[in-house]
């Protein structure tokens, strides 16, 4: 038996918001792959749960007329990876979440749970940051929309108030159209392991002029929250696509990120790997754009 005090099942976002306000000791459960583990470990023992699995409106992926992509917070990783809209428009996100845990976890874990958990190792986070995603949050009273980088407050802490539910991760059309992305997860094991360091690069290349027009680089596990390398991005923008570009990203990243020592890996090791995976991810995005590597 799980040590759960009370269990409430919400059928709509409004009902979930009302239940959360009515029961101040309760928290949301979606896939449960973080919450149930924490209950089992005792960290959340005795909590009450508001289940949002039966809320249809937060499941699945749709593309609006203006091209914006809405990913329901309750969509599981495997459904994201297999979704035709994701495969066509933002394959990098489908590939990133295909690196979470193992198949059973990907069939149950949701993107909403991954983001709201606030873990810096979350495999969806670097790509969601590099795509400049917006988060739609509902509270039954009009709600709000926030850029993802304002949502992460610290390790395990996100900007969610009591009674608020993340309903959609929105990728605006202008943030993905013309861009290509690549995510690299560096971990000790190939599967069932969380990232030692991870990096998602999303770039736009002018293949005629052979110029890197725009680039966004986000690291997981390099800081207390997912970390956008804005200095490096500014330095790379407008550079010709050649070996110098790849050398610059590698060196600049090692200046900009400040990973910590942990039992998983030392700071020096993470700096070394960081420069390397950022470079490799950028090279891959240029290849995907059909750009010239040399």
């Amino acid at each position: 038996m799980y040590d759960i005090e009370n269990y409430y099942n919400a059928k709509s976002v409004e009902e979930a918001a009302a239940l959360l306000r009515e029961h101040p000791d309760s928290r949301i459960i979606s896939g449960g792959s973080d919450v149930l583990i924490k209950i089992r470990e005792g960290k959340m023992a005795g909590t009450s749960l508001v289940c949002i699995r039966d809320i249809k409106e937060i499941q699945g992926i749709s593309k609006k007329e203006n091209g914006d992509i809405y990913i329901g917070a309750g969509t599981t990783f495997s459904h994201i990876t297999n979704d035709p809209i994701i495969q066509e428009c933002i394959p990098v996100l489908g590939e990133a979440v295909d690196q979470v845990g193992g198949p059973q976890i990907r069939n149950i874990g949701t993107i909403g749970g991954n983001i709201c958990n606030g873990a810096v190792s979350a495999d969806s986070a670097p790509t969601v940051f590099s795509l400049n995603a917006l988060l739609r949050i509902e509270d039954g009273n009009g709600g709000r929309t926030v850029p993802v980088k304002e949502f992460y407050l610290g390790p395990g802490r996100v900007d969610l108030k009591r009674g608020e539910i993340l309903t959609h991760v929105i990728i605006p059309a202008e943030e993905y159209q013309g861009y290509h992305g690549h995510y690299i997860k560096y971990s000790m094991r190939k599967a069932m392991d969380i990232a030692t360091l991870s990096c998602s690069v999303v770039s736009r290349v002018d293949t005629e002029k052979n110029i890197l027009e725009d680039v966004r680089i986000t690291f997981g596990v390099a800081a207390p929250v997912p970390f956008r390398c804005e200095k490096t991005e500014a330095a790379l923008k407008g550079m010709p696509v050649d070996e110098k570009l790849y050398q610059t990203i590698e060196e600049s990243i090692r200046q900009e990120i400040s990973p910590r020592d942990s039992w998983r890996a030392s700071r020096e090791f993470r700096l070394q790997i960081g420069g390397e995976i950022a470079k490799r991810a950028l090279i891959r995005t240029v290849e995907l754009a059909g750009g010239n590597r040399k």
């Binding site: 799980y2 005090e5 089992r40 193992g102 059973q104």
Partner: protein, 164 residues
């Protein structure tokens, strides 16, 4: 405090089931303790080992981190539902032929993961097979024979499809 049990209706191994469950109960406990389906093994209970793997609406799930109340309306398959008239399925036979079983504790979970994979009818590389089986741990066999068994049946199925 939770006092009331909740009625859950679902299909388990092709049969309709209606059980009153505790909302704190895992699907693993419901399957083992209420339905006697003891092929569903209790290993780590935190989603790491895959010993408790069952198939829900065509997808593999660790039943230890799945609440029993979530089973409402679902189609659930366990190892007990695979055999037909006492005959094992081809993948079960292949596990025996390839020596993919030692203590056997992980076997039902592996067989369920292999079953969904084979039912998809894709022909995959060894690497891809390993990725699909990566949510299941085995402390005895060293995995090679398990992958051999899956690969063998995958090739047989592909040859049959070509012949047809």
């Amino acid at each position: 405090m939770i006092r009331d049990k909740v009625l859950v209706k679902c299909i388990v191994n092709g049969k309709e089931v209606a059980e009153y469950v505790d909302p704190r109960e895992s699907l693993l406990d419901m399957l083992r303790n209420r339905l006697g389906l003891t092929s569903v093994k209790k290993g780590c209970e935190v989603g790491e080992c895959g010993a408790c793997t069952v198939i829900i609406d065509g997808e593999t799930v660790d039943s230890c981190i799945y609440l029993a109340v979530w089973a409402e309306g679902k189609n659930i398959r366990t190892l007990e539902g695979l055999e037909k008239n006492g005959d094992l399925t081809r993948i079960q036979e292949a596990f025996i032929e390839e020596g993919a079983i030692q203590c056997g504790f992980c076997t039902p979970g592996f067989v369920m993961s292999a079953t969904v994979l084979l039912e998809r009818g894709e022909v995959l590389t060894r690497e891809a097979i390993k990725k699909h089986m990566s949510g299941n741990l085995c402390r005895c066999t060293g995995y090679q024979n398990i992958v051999n068994a899956v690969e063998k049946v995958m090739k047989e199925n592909a040859a049959e499809n070509e012949g047809a």
